[in-house]
């Protein structure tokens, strides 16, 4: 029948999923290797590298930095991005479309160029290797997502419900608090989740902006992978994948992940 799937397509898609998930799947058994260096399949098994991971000071420090950074960036992204999205969607003013493109441009810009450009400015402003610098650099990555998600959320707000509330006697503030805000909740959650994940995952720009005393987890892992290939990286990867899965599950439960990531 037309528009249905043939067996060859199903097989091809299965193989593609295998390919897509291969690098994620392969690190799981590897993380339980007890070998001193990377051999696959491992010659001995154990949780040695999980233990090593928790004892690795740099890694734990970087994890703390990344968690802190993710949290701060998430909160700030919403505080900055949501009002901007609201202004851009709810008011008509000259230059509106232009601002929308400028605010979301970093989304498309090659990160390596953006990273270098930020480095060049931050070195002058002494923001390099500082928490402030990292936060600002991450904000430029996360806020475009927030603006895009929230702009969509604002424009897909069911029509007239705000007016309906007004007609029932609600003042503008009450309308915002009782109608607009609750209806925006999925948008907020999606924005927050994406901001956190983007910040937690950001490596290119961080590589340019981090300094000796402020290192994020992905940068630390990148350095580690560059300088050592013992299976500890696998252990770290598995831990990260589990954490991500947790986020996905929580998201899926609360509002449907597909909605959060989809446009």
């Amino acid at each position: 029948m037309i528009g249905h799937m043939s067996l060859p397509l199903k097989i091809v898609v299965f193989l593609l999923y295998l390919f897509l998930l291969a690098p994620v799947l392969v690190v799981v058994p590897l993380s339980f290797s007890a070998d001193s260096f990377l051999v696959f399949p491992p010659e001995s098994w154990g949780i040695r590298w999980y233990r090593a991971m928790f004892q690795h000071e740099g890694l734990m420090q970087a994890l703390k930095v990344s968690l802190w950074l993710g949290a701060v960036v998430t909160v700030l992204s919403l505080l900055i991005g949501v009002p901007a999205a609201y202004a851009l969607k709810r008011f008509e003013f000259p230059g509106r479309d232009f601002l929308m493109s400028v605010f979301t441009a970093p989304l498309l810009l090659p990160s390596i160029v953006l990273g270098l450009a930020i480095l060049l400015v931050f070195v002058q402003m002494r923001l390099l290797g500082s928490y402030t610098g990292l936060v600002i650099a991450h904000l430029i990555v996360t806020t475009p997502y927030v603006i895009r998600i929230m702009a969509t959320a604002f424009s897909t707000l069911p029509p007239f419900v705000e007016e309906a509330a007004t007609m029932l006697g609600a003042s503008p503030l009450t309308v915002f608090r009782r109608i607009t805000l609750p209806l925006m909740m999925p948008g907020f959650i999606a924005s927050a989740a994406l901001s956190f994940l983007m910040s937690f995952d950001e490596v290119v720009i961080s590589l340019f902006v981090t300094g000796p005393n402020v290192r994020t987890l992905p940068v630390e892992i990148f350095d580690y992978v560059e300088s050592r290939t013992d299976p500890m990286t696998a252990a770290v990867s598995v831990a990260l994948i589990l954490a991500t899965l947790l986020v996905i599950v929580v998201l899926e439960r609360t509002l449907g992940f597909s909605k959060a990531v989809g446009k």
Binding site: P159, V161, M167, L183
Partner: protein, 373 residues
């Protein structure tokens, strides 16, 4: 053009003959578009006014100005004599039912209905009875704990009505409330809304582009056209005495002919002459109309004379269309096409293509307008 009760038989003088009163109300949108021009409408207390008109004629704009959702740029809107033009919408105390219902999707049915009461400082507990009563009124008792998305379109529409009514607004505004419902449900809701409105004696403005809705439900009908009020009157005023070709064509089906006025109450269509009220005009071009079902068809008795009692013209049947309840004949009367509609009969004569017939109608059923079209 203020409505005066003297004009129509069904207008009833109530406590306040102009409870909701629009005088010279106009709306120019920021882009310069004149959506509504110089509108004068009075709605007597407790009555229901239907605002009828084609798409884009300014019905919604008028209703939103009354609600305060868009500011009127000219004139005054008064409720009970008091000018509310500058009041913000949340202080106008009007109930508005949206075409799309606009139920709060994150609240239950009960919470939706309770919202307006809450805004009036009525505690949830005290409100409970009123909510249940409102839901009973719209025949949805016991559905309070559902979410709007768990209701059918018709049920949502009822909740929306209950939500607007529970606060006992001074004015009820309905913007095409039935247009998203299917035909059957629409019939039902028509009766229900009208009954509730009558029971609560609530002054109501009902916007629609469906003439059946306006004629069957309302005490008064206002026909709008291009931002202006074309005619205001009782349903029968509008249908039986349309004051313009626009109203005659928009409300009900009609035949339309180019005509010449040949004398006092005499017109000619092609070579045929007819009697009709020419409103004092004695000559000039005009347009004449007659409704298809007001035309009687009789065997051709060669009686093509114009009397004051009846108009008669000979016609040849071009087309016969059977539509079940109704049979439609298209006849050729001296080069013009005349549409005639009759209820079908199981027995009795049925005309056939090519048959010559006498078409007769009363002069009172023929309207003559200046050559507007």
């Amino acid at each position: 053009m203020t409505y005066s009760p003297a004009l129509g038989p069904s207008a009833v003088v109530e406590a306040d003959p102009a409870f909701l009163s629009l005088s010279s109300v106009g709306k120019i949108y920021p882009n310069g578009y004149k959506a509504v021009v110089d509108l004068d409408i009075d709605v007597p207390q407790g009555q229901m006014l239907g605002l009828l008109g084609p798409s884009g004629c300014g019905k919604t704009t008028t209703l939103r100005m009354i609600a305060g959702l868009v500011p009127n740029t000219a004139g005054h809107i008064r409720v009970g004599g008091q000018d509310v033009s500058r009041e913000p919408p949340h202080r106008r105390d009007m109930g508005l039912v949206f075409q799309s219902y606009a139920l709060f999707p994150h609240m239950t049915v009960a919470e939706n209905v309770a919202f307006g009461l809450e805004m009036r400082g009525i505690s949830r507990r005290d409100a409970r009875d009123q909510i249940e009563e409102a839901l009973e009124m719209v025949r949805l008792p016991g559905l309070g704990s559902r979410k709007p998305r768990e209701l059918s379109g018709g049920q949502q529409q009822r909740v929306s009505l209950a939500r607007a009514l529970v606060i006992r607004p001074r004015i009820l505004l309905l913007d095409e409330p039935l247009s998203n419902l299917d035909a059957k449900l629409r019939d039902e809701m028509r009766v229900e809304i009208r009954e509730i409105q009558k029971r609560l004696k609530i002054t109501t403005l009902f916007v629609t582009h469906d003439q059946v809705e306006a004629l069957t439900m309302c005490d008064l009908v206002g026909v709008m056209h291009g931002g202006k009020l074309a005619q205001l009157g009782s349903p029968e005023d509008i249908y039986e005495r349309p004051n313009s070709l626009f109203v005659a064509e928009f409300v009900g089906r009609t035949n339309k002919f180019p005509a010449r006025i040949t004398g006092r109450d005499k017109i000619a269509i092609g070579s045929e002459t007819f009697s009709a009220d020419t409103r004092g005009r004695l000559s000039g071009d005009a347009v004449a109309t007659v409704r298809p079902h007001r035309i009687a068809l009789t065997p051709d008795r060669d009686r093509g004379i114009v009397s004051n009692q009846t108009n008669a013209v000979r016609g040849r049947v071009l087309r016969v269309t059977y539509i079940g309840d109704v049979i439609q004949y298209d006849l050729d009367i001296g080069g013009q096409e005349l549409k005639v509609e009759h209820h079908t009969l199981s027995s009795g004569p049925r005309h056939v293509e090519g048959e010559m017939l006498m078409c007769e109608w009363a002069p009172a059923d023929m309207f003559v307008y200046g050559d507007e079209a």
